[in-house]
C-alpha cells in the first residue's frame, strides 16, 4: 500500500490521508463538538468547557512526553507557573494590565520554569527525568507556601478578570483554543521534528548516529510544550478568576494529564485531546451527574477504567479506533 506522502518535507498530506469511515467519524465528532451547547445540558456543557483546557494540556504533554518517551510527571508546573504569573501581575502589580502584557509574561514564566528544570534533567534518561519532573511540582508548591505572604498560600489569589460568565461562550473559547493548539501541534508532530522526537523514543543513540543533536530536539519539544501549557494556564486563570495550588499546581492534575494522553494514544496529539474529553466526560458527567457516584469511589473507578483501557489498548483507545476504521479487516493500518 503505497502512501502518497512525500518523505522529503512537509507531511500534511499524510495526516489527512483518510478513508471514508475515518472521514465520517471525524466529521461527526467535529460537528458534535461544534454544536454541543445546543444538545447538551448546562452542566454537561460546563464540563466540556474545562475539558477544552485539559485537551490543551494533554496535547502539550504529548508533544514532549508522548513523542520522546521522556515522561513528565510534573507538567502542571508549567501551566501553573503561567497562571500564578498572571495572578501575581494582576494582584500585585496592576489590575488593569493589558492582556498583551500579561499573556506573554505569563507564558514566559512557564517557559522559564520549564527551562530551569528541563535543561538539566533532559540529559538524564528514563525514570530519572520522571522523578525530577515530579519533584519540581513539589518544589513549586513549597515555594508557594513559603512565600505565602505574596502568594497567599493555599488560599490562592483572586481578582483575575473572568473572560465571560456565559457557559456557551466560554465553551467556544476553549474549543477554539484547543483547535488552534491542536492544529499547530499536529503540524509539528507530522513534520521532521515530530519524526525525530518519535525516533528518540525508539532509540536515542541511533538518532544521534543520524547526526542529530537529541538534547537540542528534546529541549525544543519541551519549549513548545511549555508555551502550550502556558497558554492553557493563562486561560484557565481567566476561567476560574482565581489561582490556587489546588486548581493550578496540583500533583493529581499532572498525573491526570498523563492518563488522558495515554488513554487517547501518546504521540498522536489528537488522541490525547480526545482522551481529555473522554475522561472528563466519564468523571464529571457520567459518574457524577448521571450516576451520582460519590467522590471517593468516583476517583478509584476512573483510575481503574484508565488501567483497563490501557491494558486493552496500549497504543491508545482513539489511535486503535482510528486504525481500525482505516483498515477494518485488520493487518494493521498506518495510522
Amino acid at each position: 500500500m503505497s502512501s502518497d506522502t512525500t518523505t522529503a518535507g512537509f507531511d500534511v498530506g499524510g495526516a489527512f490521508d483518510v478513508n471514508a469511515p475515518q472521514a465520517v467519524v471525524a466529521v461527526v465528532a467535529a460537528l458534535g463538538l461544534l454544536t454541543l451547547p445546543f444538545w447538551a445540558s448546562e452542566s454537561f456543557t460546563n464540563v466540556m468547557v474545562y475539558a477544552g483546557f485539559w485537551a490543551v494540556f494533554a496535547a502539550g504533554w504529548d508533544v514532549i512526553s508522548g513523542h520522546t518517551g521522556y515522561i513528565s510527571f510534573g507538567h502542571s508546573l508549567l501551566s501553573g507557573s503561567a497562571a500564578y504569573a498572571t495572578a501575581l501581575l494582576v494582584v500585585k502589580v496592576d489590575p488593569h494590565l493589558s492582556l498583551f502584557v500579561t499573556i506573554p509574561v505569563s507564558i514566559g514564566a512557564a517557559v522559564a520554569m520549564g527551562m530551569v528544570f528541563g535543561l538539566p534533567s533532559l540529559r538524564l534518561r528514563g525514570p530519572y527525568f520522571s522523578l525530577v519532573t515530579f519533584t519540581s511540582v513539589l518544589i513549586a508548591l513549597k515555594l508557594i507556601d513559603v512565600f505565602s505572604g505574596v502568594t497567599n498560600g493555599h488560599l490562592g489569589m483572586s481578582g483575575i478578570d473572568v473572560f465571560t460568565y456565559d457557559t456557551t461562550t466560554f465553551y467556544y473559547y476553549t474549543l477554539g483554543l484547543a483547535a488552534c493548539v491542536g492544529a499547530v501541534l499536529v503540524v509539528v508532530s507530522r513534520s521532521n521534528v515530530g519524526r525525530v522526537l518519535l525516533a528518540i523514543n525508539a532509540r536515542e543513540q541511533t538518532v544521534e548516529e543520524a547526526g542529530i543533536d537529541t538534547t537540542k530536539f528534546k529541549l525544543w519539544a519541551f519549549l513548545i510544550s511549555a508555551i502550550t501549557m502556558g497558554f492553557g494556564g493563562v486561560f484557565l486563570a481567566h476561567y476560574y478568576g482565581n489561582v490556587s495550588p489546588a486548581n493550578s499546581m496540583s500533583v493529581a492534575d499532572s498525573i491526570l494529564i498523563i492518563a488522558m494522553a495515554a488513554v487517547g494514544g501518546t504521540g498522536s496529539i489528537v488522541g490525547p485531546m480526545a482522551g481529555a474529553y473522554l475522561l472528563l466526560f466519564l468523571r464529571d458527567v457520567l459518574f457524577q451527574n448521571w450516576l451520582g457516584i460519590g467522590s471517593n469511589v468516583r476517583l478509584v473507578l476512573l483510575w481503574a477504567i484508565v488501567v483497563v483501557l490501557l491494558v486493552a489498548a496500549p497504543e491508545g483507545v482513539f489511535v486503535r479506533l482510528w486504525r481500525w476504521l482505516g483498515d477494518p479487516r485488520g493487518g494493521g493500518s498506518r495510522g
Binding site: T7, R195, T206
Partner: protein, 248 residues
C-alpha cells in the same frame, strides 16, 4: 605508535568498565580512501573500540583524531556530522517507519527549524539503490529479510554522507552470494571516495576486499599488515585456535 596524518587516528585508546579492561592502549590509523580490515576473535573488544570512536562510550584514556580534529570527547552527532558514520553489528532500524522514512531521517539536518528539509524522494531512492534496496522503499523493517535489514543500516549511514564508514561485522548471517554482493557494494562505495573500516572476526570475507589489516586480541593490538601477511602470520593463527574456520 602514534602517527600524524591519516583520516582517523586512534592513539592509545583505553576503555575500562569497572575492573574490566575492554580496550588496552590501542593505536591505529585509517588513511583517506582506504579500506581497513579489523579482525580479532569474539570478545576481542573490536566493537567497543568503535563505540568509543563514535562517541557512544566515554574513553578512559587515549585520543581519537578525525580529519585533524580531536574528537575524543565529542558528542556522537557532532562526530557523524564531521563525516564519520558507523554501522553497528546490531541492526536497529525504526520499525514504525518505512525504509524510505528510515533513510530520510538520516538526511534531516540538525536544526530544530527543519520542519521540511532533508533529502528529496529521488535522493533517498538513489541511496537505497546504492545498496540495492530500492525495491523495498515502502516496506517496514519487520517485513525485511536479514540481508535487506543489514543493507538498510548501511544505507542510513551512507545517507549522512560520510568520509569514513565503519562497518561492524557487515557479513554476519549472510550467504556466500550475499557476501559477494555486499563486497561489490562496499567496493563501489569506496570507489566514490569513502574510506571504510570493516570489522570481522575472520579473514575469509576480507581477503580480497581490504587494503590493510589490523588484528585485535584481548583489547590490544596484536599485529597489522597486508592481508597476505596476516594470513601467513602464525601468531594470528594461534589466536584463532579453537575458532571454526581457517585464518585464511
Amino acid at each position: 605508535m602514534a602517527e600524524s596524518g591519516g583520516l582517523l587516528a586512534v592513539d592509545g585508546l583505553t576503555k575500562r568498565f569497572g575492573g574490566l579492561v575492554a580496550v588496552d592502549d590501542l593505536s591505529f590509523t585509517v588513511e583517506r580512501g582506504e579500506i581497513l580490515g579489523v579482525i580479532g576473535p569474539n570478545g576481542a573488544g573490536k566493537s567497543t573500540v568503535f563505540n568509543c570512536v563514535v562517541g557512544q562510550y566515554d574513553v578512559t584514556d587515549g585520543r581519537v583524531t578525525f580529519a585533524d580534529d580531536d574528537v575524543t570527547d565529542w558528542d556522537t552527532h557532532d562526530i557523524v556530522n564531521a563525516g564519520l558514520a558507523r554501522v553497528s553489528q546490531h541492526s536497529r532500524p525504526f520499525d514504525a517507519m518505512t525504509v524510505r522514512e528510515n533513510i530520510h531521517l538520516f538526511t534531516v539536518p540538525n536544526s530544530v527549524l527543519a520542519f521540511r528539509g532533508g533529502a528529496s524522494d529521488e535522493a533517498v531512492g538513489d541511496i537505497a539503490a546504492l545498496v540495492g534496496i530500492d525495491d523495498a522503499l515502502d516496506e517496514r523493517p519487520p517485513d525485511l529479510t536479514h540481508e535487506y535489514t543489514r543493507r538498510l543500516e548501511i544505507a542510513r549511514a551512507l545517507a549522512t554522507d560520510p568520509e569514513l564508514l565503519l562497518l561492524d561485522e557487515p557479513f554476519a548471517g549472510f550467504t556466500q552470494e550475499e557476501v559477494r554482493d555486499l563486497r561489490a557494494s562496499i567496493e563501489t562505495i569506496n570507489d566514490d571516495g569513502t574510506a571504510l573500516v570493516v570489522v570481522d572476526h575472520n579473514m575469509r570475507g576480507l581477503m580480497a576486499l581490504v587494503d590493510r589489516v589490523v588484528v585485535v586480541h584481548d583489547g590490544a593490538l596484536l599485529t597489522s599488515g597486508t592481508p597476505e601477511e596476516i594470513a601467513d602470520d602464525d601468531t594470528v593463527a594461534d589466536v584463532y585456535l579453537g575458532e571454526t574456520g581457517d585464518a585464511s
